[in-house]
Point group: C2
Chain length 377, copies 2
């Protein structure tokens, strides 16, 4: 099978680029002396997960129970579900555990600990919990110095059926930085905050064997991670224009793109229409807020994957994408109807999510594999 044979839109993954990204992050983890627990919310693929966990301890992170179910079904047993647990999800967690998976759940709420403990009794199940720490991201978690931290820790430790595994954080604010020095400063905030939380728990006689950080920018630029035991970056596997814009990767490190067909020319508006729109590319505009002429993604050659200078997807409707040129009219003759292009993502987690498979290439026109992936919830 070749790229030219695929229906469009299709999701393309360059295996060599993925492998290089994974090797680079494995080297980072080794250098920093922490375990690597890749976040698979980005790739959502067992084959990609095998590459990302090669040579590692085998643990992974997920963002939905659908991902947990998919990866458990593909032999990944040590799974952190990195989104705050709601008691209504515990029956499904218990089912997955009964089938052999070992899930780590996350909470920042003492009332939730009570509800989880109650459901553990009712289901005759055991649940393992990490306490989420807010190290500056401002989304979820208790502050490292909050009294609630010890209250939650004690409630977990006291409940039959529950185990306190430790603490975790996500430096979401690293996405709002640009460049290595600014990101390194956030990485140190992330580290210091979560380590401080672990120390407070341990000083209170509460074990915290896991001290987990996680975000691709901080994983890339952290200078040292004393006290941290693991990291959970995810987007590094595939990379995207946003990571490039904040200085985390090069364009050549972006491993995923969407193959699209030209379906129209509009000389009056200066647009080339493609069959990849708001659903196929997502409506994420992250990178466009940092780089001019980015829109909903950069337009690349279908085979080489290299940018066609100055071409970007300026607008999207549900199944229509509108390509514009940075200057003047786009090259209608070079991209006649039926021609194919590849679009680099603003935010690859958003772009890849709706597809049920990757068409895998190795830098050329041949599709060397088709990998299934998780979708939905």
């Amino acid at each position: 099978m070749r790229l030219a044979d695929l229906s469009t839109p299709s999701l393309i993954l360059d295996r060599g680029t993925l492998a290089a990204n994974c090797a680079a992050m494995a080297a980072r983890a080794a250098k920093l002396g922490v375990r690597l627990r890749p976040h698979l919310k980005t790739a959502k693929s067992a084959e990609a997960a095998r590459i990302a966990t090669a040579g590692q301890f085998g643990g992974i992170t997920v963002s939905t129970l659908a991902e947990a179910r998919y990866f458990a079904g593909h032999g990944f047993r040590d799974i952190t579900y990195g989104v705050g647990i709601a008691p209504g999800k515990l029956d499904e967690v218990a089912r997955l555990q009964a089938e052999g998976a070992r899930l780590q759940l996350v909470t920042d709420d003492v009332a939730t600990v009570g509800a989880v403990a109650q459901r553990a009794l009712e289901l005759k199940a055991a649940f393992q919990l990490l306490i989420e720490i807010d190290t500056g991201g401002g989304r979820a978690g208790v502050l490292p110095e909050a009294p609630a931290l010890l209250e939650i820790g004690r409630a977990i430790a006291a409940a039959p059926g529950l185990s306190l595994l430790g603490v975790m954080t996500h430096a979401g604010h690293s996405y709002r930085c640009k460049g290595g020095d600014a990101i390194a400063a956030v990485a140190e905030e992330e580290r210091a905050g979560v380590v401080r939380a672990a120390e407070r728990l341990e000083a209170a006689g509460l074990p915290s064997p896991v001290v987990s950080v996680g975000a691709t920018p901080t994983a890339m630029f952290a200078r040292a991670l004393p006290g941290v035991t693991e990291m959970r970056p995810g987007v590094y596997t595939l990379m995207d224009l946003y990571q490039m814009a904040i200085g985390v990767c090069r364009r050549e490190d972006i491993a995923a793109s969407v193959l699209a067909s030209v379906i129209g020319h509009n000389p009056r508006t200066g647009r080339i229409l493609i069959d990849a729109g708001a659903l196929a590319l997502s409506q994420d505009r992250g990178a466009a807020s940092l780089m001019e002429h980015t829109g909903f993604g950069w337009v690349c050659d279908a085979v080489t994957g290299k940018p066609l200078d100055g071409l970007y997807v300026a607008e999207v409707n549900q199944e229509h994408g509108m390509i514009a040129a940075a200057k003047g009219a786009p090259p209608f003759e070079r991209l006649p109807l039926g021609a194919r292009v590849r679009i680099l993502p603003n935010h690859v987690c958003m772009m890849a999510a709706p597809y049920d498979r990757y068409h895998v290439v190795e830098g050329g026109a041949d599709v060397v594999a088709v990998w299934d992936k998780a979708t939905g919830w």
Copy 2:
């Protein structure tokens, strides 16, 4: 099964509201004297399509070949694929036709007609074409007065294996209007343009039995449609906050929402966290550009579906939604962890797309049916 038993996020559809929306549009079509060919890119569901086509001639519109395949498999044979055809899709079209479907394809490009004719010969297939007309939307289509219109029409008529069915247009610019009078003016532009194109074809001896318009706002507010034979609105089936904001529907007409669980409280930022984020709600901000305190959707009671005053999803990450209040802090006590809410969509086509099923309610807490739906490409 009850709403309280569902995993979250889940996509909820109120059948009574859908049926009322479909009855209202059927009455509009009857009053305007045109056939109704519902666009199923919004609902993507065979059960919804049965309600939308009840009492009609049975034709539908789709935006992807995956939808065409799904609906053909559920007995819908008369299908307009409303996105400009790329020659690479013709093998799949021919397969669907060999299995009994009858597809109408769309083009605005004479070179594409040549490529389609060539492939028809190679596949020993017959393809039926509509010429897309730009009546002011500025996306695709030839202008009603363009010389290219006759050139395309003649090329189709002359090619063995191809049939010219007529003309179609989509008044995308009706989405940029507000209120019945402004939309009625666009509806008249849409009608006049596509009818003029049909007249030019017929004057040149080229038949144009189909004269098709299509957009929910213009379908709702067109005053008369002389010369038009059919309309293809879609979003009316489910409606959303954007249609409400431009005056096309009431809040009570919105038939779809996402059921979500509260997974966190952040008193420092004044946010209630839910497990429906950028993927579960989409990143569409259409309605937020027209109405304050809309964000990524309005927050409603989980059972009644009625808005919880002033609460909206202010921010989203991949699987996290952050609820804010229009004034002050959100009601943490009223929405404890584990509580459930429903989120009304900015743009329902975007919100519904990634889900593989609807959980159907009839205004209450019981799930009265589960309907499958199409996803992906």
